[in-house]
Symmetry: C2
Subunit: 199 residues, 2 copies
Amino acid sequence: MAKTTTKESTKVQLLEAGTEIMLEKGYNNTGIMEVLQSTGVPKGSFYYYFDSKEDFGMQIINHYDATYSEKLKVLLDETKSPLSLLRSYCEESMRNLEQNACRKGCLIGNLSQEMADQSEVFRNRLQEVMLSQRSIFASCIANAQAKGEISNTMNASDLAEFFQCGWSGAVMRAKTMKCVEPMKVFSQILFDHVLKCSA
Amino acid sequence: MAKTTTKESTKVQLLEAGTEIMLEKGYNNTGIMEVLQSTGVPKGSFYYYFDSKEDFGMQIINHYDATYSEKLKVLLDETKSPLSLLRSYCEESMRNLEQNACRKGCLIGNLSQEMADQSEVFRNRLQEVMLSQRSIFASCIANAQAKGEISNTMNASDLAEFFQCGWSGAVMRAKTMKCVEPMKVFSQILFDHVLKCSA
């Protein structure tokens, strides 16, 4: 049992170190050696846990998705205002990016931009994650429509797609400008003019 | 004269081949050899035209920006409806992406996502291009406000930022989903609910 736990924690350690490096440098530019060096895990161990660099990349996406999906579930808390939950999500994302000096951003957006034309294996998985996240945002928006917080003249899934387009672009622009102004501007117009009662 | 023209055209040929490869593979993953092979330019010639791979990357951005800025000037044609010009820009972008089988997308967005955390040289130049493009979109929106096509209760520059956040995210998502649906959804909600008379 102790051995399994250690093995699992070494694997998670590699996945988490890989995530942090890949968030800044992308998939192609991240070296396995760099990940091993940052964790102190011996060179020979990598292929015990991962079949290949591609397998490592895919497991990083799965690990990130599992963690992030858990975080997104907060948006479905039925005891709270769905619209306030979405606002809080935006505000927290801005605070997180600011705390990271506007570096890193979103792994799914970063890898999508980098890998969509290069690997069908990555593209398919990234698309699945995008659609699964969209369905959570769509449920939150549908809840807000049911409570009369957002006009129900628009399809919740389209509004979720609209939100995710804008938010992922805003994060990318914030990274490039090294300030969260694009996220502030996008969310302000979004909540004042799109996600409202009489849209 | 003829010699200068040939030199210039070889340089442009390298820049354009580099742009096409970099649009799909990003900066780090593009090899100089691959660019040379695709153009038939001899290996020794590259450093006649470019100081380094970084210089090549920067000149690719400048070349792309010069071409794209020229294309964006159409948005400022005062004989036409500014709002219709912006709609046409979106429709043309969608057609272009579809014609490219939803590959490549926007070089500025792609390189921003990849390079913003890795190189201040790239980041600064990409930010300049983003802001210069934003000022063209903002002028188009301000023209539409002056003509009463868009409510003037919002700042034109903020609306341009909002548009660029959403549009760059929509292109990224279209590349990942390999269909232009995200661009369709984003532009439809944008024009129906944000860029309108009584926003």
